[in-house]
Amino acid sequence: MATRGFFGKRPTDDVGERLPPGQYRTDDFPVLSAGPTPRVALADWRFTLKDGVRPVMSWNWEAFNQLPQSKLTRDIHCVTKWSKFDTAWSGVMIDDLLAEAGIAAPSEFTLAHSYDGYSTNVPTDDLINGKAMVATHFDGQPILPDHGGPARLLVPHLYFWKSAKWVNGLQFTRRDEAGFWELRGYHMRGDPWREQRFAGD
C-alpha cells in the first residue's frame, strides 16, 4: 500500500537497477562499526587461517603483502541502507590464500575474526571462486583505520557487515556458527538482493 503523499527522490534507471531493495546511493563512504576503531600497528599485525581450532597458516604484514595481489571493483551495500558504486579494492583473493596454504576450503562455513573482537559468519561458497578477498587498499591507497585498515575482508555481493573490518583471521567451521552481528539478529547469509537483513528475512 502506498504511503500517503510519498513520491520519493527516485534514482535514474541506470542507478536504480544497481540498487538492491531499500537501498539508496551515496557518494560518501559512511562508517559502520559497533565500537571505536582499534589501533592496529603493522609490526604486530598477523593474519591466520584456521581449520576449526587448528591453525593452518599465518602471515605477518610483510609476508602477506608478498602474496599475489588482485583488484576488485564492485558496488557495496550496507545494511544501514547506503550503497556505494564502483568501489575499487586490492588485496589477496581468498582463493590465493587457500592455494598458498596448500588446501582446498575444508568446510562449508567460515567465521571471519577481527582485531576488535567482533566476528561474522560467511558461507565458504561466498568467499571462493573469485568472489572475495582480504583487501589492503582502497582507491589505490592503504585502507584507512576507520574503514577497516590495515586489512578488511571484502565480500562485496553480501551486505557490508560481512566484509569484516580489521580482519585477522578466517576460521573454517563444520557448522554455521553465528558471528557477533548474527547472534544479534542479523541474517546468516545477508544477500542484499533478497533483502536478507535480519534473521527470517
Binding site: M1, A2, T3, R4, G5, F6, F7, G8, K9, R10, P21, G22, Q23, Y24, T26, D28, P30, V31, L32, S33, A34, G35, P36, T37, P38, R39, T80, K81, W82, D116, G117, D146, F180, W181, L183, R184, G185, R197, F198, A199, G200, D201
Partner: protein
C-alpha cells in the same frame, strides 16, 4: 577480547507492520517528534531502533532507520525524533508531509548491541552528537524510572542552544536527579549560555564526565554522525576506558 553479554532476545522474524501517527511536535527548529502506535508491538529495549519503509504510488520504496527516543514504558507507543536533512529523501517527507492519523510502515525493534537494560548495570557514560541523543534519551528516561540509583553522565553536543533536543527535560532531570550529570556543549553558538559549554567535544569534557561518576563507567554509549563518533570514541580511549566497554552507533553524515 571479551564482550559484554548484551544479547537481547531476537524475534524469529521482523515483520513489516503499519503504525498510526498519534502526535507530532515541533521540538527544535530542525527536529520534529513523531509518536507512533504500531499495530502489533511487544515492547523494546532502550537503545533500539525501527526501520521505516515509505512506498510511492508506483511501488518505489525508501527505507531508513530511526532510533526510539521514548522509554520502554509498556504504552505500546514509541516516539521518534527526526532531524531535517535538507537535501534528504525521508526526513523532509516526515517534516513536510506526515500528519496525525497517517499510517506509516515500519518494522522493529531492531538492534541487539547498542542497548541498555537495568540489569546491565552502570555507571553509564553517554555521549551524543545532535540527533544521536535519541537512543541515549530512551536509556536515560528508562533508567530514571527503573534504576535511578545507577549513576549516569551525558555529554551532549549540539550546534546551537535552540538545537538541543528535549532541552527542558534534560536540564530538569540534571537538577532533580543526584545520580545524573549533564554536560552540554554547543559547537556553533555565538552567545554564551549559562551552564553550557562552548565548542566541540574534547578530552576535558570527557574527563569532567568521568569525574562526575563514582567509578569507571561499565559501559560507554556513543551516538551521532561519523565524525562525532570517531572523535568521541578516541577521547574515550585516550581517557583510558577499556575498548570493549565502548559501544557506538553511527547515523551517517
Amino acid at each position: 577480547m571479551d564482550r559484554i553479554p548484551d544479547i537481547a532476545p531476537q524475534p524469529e522474524r521482523l515483520a513489516w507492520q503499519m503504525a498510526t501517527v498519534i502526535a507530532i511536535t515541533t521540538e527544535t527548529p530542525r527536529v520534529k517528534l513523531f509518536r507512533l502506535k504500531p499495530a502489533d508491538w511487544h515492547g523494546f529495549t532502550a537503545g533500539q531502533h525501527v526501520d521505516i519503509r515509505l512506498t510511492a504510488p508506483d511501488g518505489y520504496q525508501a527505507e531508513r532507520s530511526y532510533s526510539i527516543g521514548s522509554a520502554p514504558d509498556g504504552s505500546g507507543e514509541i516516539e521518534l525524533a527526526i532531524d531535517l536533512i535538507d537535501a534528504g529523501e525521508v526526513s523532509p517527507f516526515f517534516h513536510e508531509v506526515v500528519e496525525v492519523g497517517d499510517a506509516i510502515e515500519l518494522r522493529g525493534p531492531i538492534g541487539g548491541h547498542f542497548i541498555w537494560r537495568a540489569e546491565d548495570g552502570g555507571p553509564l557514560l553517554l555521549m551524543a552528537g545532535g540527533s544521536g541523543l535519541v537512543p541515549l534519551m530512551s536509556m536515560l528516561r528508562y533508567r530514571a524510572a527503573a534504576a535511578p540509583e545507577i549513576p549516569a553522565a551525558l555529554i551532549y553536543s549540539a550546534r546551537r542552544h535552540e538545537d538541543l533536543i528535549w532541552r527542558d527535560e534534560l536540564f530538569r532531570r540534571a537538577t532533580e536527579d543526584p545520580n545524573f550529570t549533564l554536560l552540554a556543549t554547543l559547537s556553533r553558538e555565538a552567545t554564551p549560555v549559562a551552564g553550557i559549554r562552548q565548542g566541540r567535544i574534547d578530552r576535558a569534557l570527557v574527563d569532567a564526565a568521568l569525574q562526575s561518576l563514582p567509578t569507571t563507567p561499565k559501559t560507554t554509549y556513543i551516538c551521532g554522525s561519523n565524525p562525532f563518533v570517531g572523535a568521541a570514541s578516541s577521547f574515550a580511549l585516550d581517557a583510558g576506558l577499556p575498548f570493549a566497554s565502548i559501544k557506538a552507533e553511527r547515523y551517517g553524515g
